[in-house]
Symmetry: C2
Subunit: 205 residues, 2 copies
DNA sequence: AATATAATTGACCGATACGGACAACAGCAT
DNA sequence: ATGCTGTTGTCCGTATCGGTCAATTATATT
């Protein structure tokens, strides 16, 4: 990409980036025209091509940007400090909720991008994803002490279950397009967590 | 549309209809090519145009079909029999959950269609929607006895809140693409309802 | 088997949309 | 005037779109 992009006023950078997030999050990669993104950012298509030499480059740039912002949030909320599994999930969720209220279309973009199947970008996305995040879950899962949990249940199953429920919950938020009540959301999720603890942990806890 | 469509073997009708639901639920109206729908249904584009004279006609036909199926479910689950508000919501939800597990892409289509803004179909959809469903809520709301509820709260607010939460919950289900556990879903929603009753109804109940 | 009839398709059309290239323009400092 | 930088309008080759239609295949009738 053209490094001059970075010397643009930050506000303008943001406008272009957000336009990208918006359009790419609403259509598939192939059906997201550069034209539309440019319009949405209030610049000409030519200028957009001036900063990003082609569509793929812009897409991958946006993905990377989203990953970095996500990482910032996750570290800021202490998601990489070693704790137990539930604590980790709570911190992760809190970070994500905050992030979504601030960058809603970005979050939608990330999800769409993750499931994007167009061969032009597909593999690049997945490689990058693994490098960025996949370590975390393994890490926290490894620290788990099985004796804390109720007898005869599958740890991975539980994690999967919890993970899916959280993701679904986040979807709900993304789709809703009105003002978001952060405190309510966080309380809701805390309730969810309490519920899980109650089911999965041994009574002694 | 071409009435001969109905004399097709039902299985083939279904295949075409489902293809429509799928494609229209994944892209916007404008970016859903007839080509793709035909391929997805295993027929040629020409044949698709033989049965539905143009794209708009197919889209509106699908919308109508979806509405009718929805109505069937709602009546089957007793959603139109007069009861109290909570009972109505529960029946409605139960019907919708069942419906979604059977016709997932249709449900996704309905939601997308409802928010579709393309002027070519937008108004037709909204007119139809009002005719079909909007009566129901008013109806049940009118039967509500305000004295049953806790002091000083806005009935419409509560309904809106409950409605949004339900819709969000359904979104979560639609987005998830694996086998659905109907019983779990229904239990979850029952819990939600219990929770609402606890907050909104007077203790005497 | 020959014929009529219905189902289904491939090839095609005009219009538009697309990604991308590039020369030109405007503003501004020298 | 002369660069330089940011920005745009215009153009191009190609692909795609909605939609048509003649041609082909399958089915029913005699």
């Amino acid at each position: 990409m053209n490094e001059k992009f970075y010397s643009l006023p930050v506000e303008k950078q943001q406008k272009i980036i957000n336009a990208g997030f918006r359009v790419f999050s609403q259509n598939s990669y192939k059906k997201s025209p550069m034209n539309e993104i440019a319009d949405c950012a209030g610049i000409s298509k030519s200028l957009l091509f001036h900063y990003f030499h082609n569509k793929r480059e812009l897409y991958l740039f946006l993905w990377d940007k989203a990953c970095k912002i996500t990482m910032e949030y996750l570290t800021e909320y202490g998601c990489y400090e070693p704790t137990d599994l539930f604590e980790m999930m709570e911190r992760g969720m809190r970070a994500k909720i905050r992030m979504m209220t601030k960058y809603r279309s970005m979050t939608a973009f990330v999800i769409k991008a993750f499931y994007e199947k167009d061969p032009e970008v597909n593999s690049a996305i997945h490689d990058s994803y693994q490098k960025y995040f996949e370590i975390k879950a393994q890490d926290a899962l490894a620290r788990v002490d099985p004796s804390d949990f109720v007898e005869g249940f599958d740890l991975n199953m539980m994690y999967r279950e919890m993970y899916l429920a959280s993701e679904g919950y986040l979807w709900e938020i993304i789709q809703f397009d009105g003002e978001l009540d952060v405190q309510k959301l966080e309380k809701d999720f805390e309730d969810m967590l309490k519920f899980w603890k109650k089911i999965y942990l041994k009574k002694g806890e």
